[in-house]
Symmetry: C2
Subunit: 106 residues, 2 copies
DNA sequence: TACGTAGTACGGTCGTCATCGAACCTTTCG
DNA sequence: CGAAAGGTTCGATGACGACCGTACTACGTA
């Protein structure tokens, strides 16, 4: 518990994260919902466990978009891919952005 | 001084502003630049004075998008339309969002 | 009145992206 | 081994939106 094992999939470093890309990633309603779920979850969330009404391959697409934007970190755990929110990195890079966005969800 | 005259064009009230719409509005690079200009400007900015490289009618489009999202307020001043950032409303509704976004611009 | 200024409205084009289904891969387990 | 679980990849489709130019309106002024 707590510590997640497995390899981290490629992602931008903290200082490579660009606000424009992050905003584009968060602008989609499905992805915004995913981010909100991650923010409210103590545990990492596998691709198939997001509560969204889109097909499997679409979830794959959204997870990749969020990862490449630097919003989430994805680890390979067995056959599963567990996502976590990169809260520390986002807070360091764009202080207040994440909490501001999350305050407006639901 | 400071006070801007003229009629305010239709816009959402503070509590009608939705985070999803705001994010979509900010996700465009041209609009993000406009918002940054407004944040750095003491005076309202007329449509024709934004430092962006798009045509007139496109600026109209972006100004309308930002206004309808609740990001800016637009007043009719003679033949001009002066835009200002709705900083108070955005800060009240989504604390930290605006400053977080602006910290990542330029 | 005629003109310049500031911006909108309209019609159209083009590119991007969200979505899906089907096929495929890999690990786990009976 | 065979099958199920969990995701990815591919190709296609459909919708939205950024952009432009032209035509138009409203206001101010020489």
């Amino acid at each position: 518990m707590g510590t997640v094992t497995g390899k981290v999939l490629p992602q931008p470093t903290r200082d490579e994260i660009r606000v424009e890309t992050v905003l584009q990633a968060l602008a989609d309603p499905v992805r915004l919902r995913m981010v909100a779920e991650l923010a409210n979850s103590a545990e990492p969330i596998p691709c198939g466990h997001f509560d969204v009404e889109v097909g499997k391959s679409t979830v794959t697409h959204h997870v990749r978009t969020l990862r490449e934007a630097g919003v989430i970190e994805v680890r390979q755990v067995g056959t599963a891919r567990a996502s976590t929110l990169r809260k520390d990195d986002l807070d360091a890079r764009f202080p207040g952005l994440l909490t501001g966005v999350l305050s407006g969800v639901d």
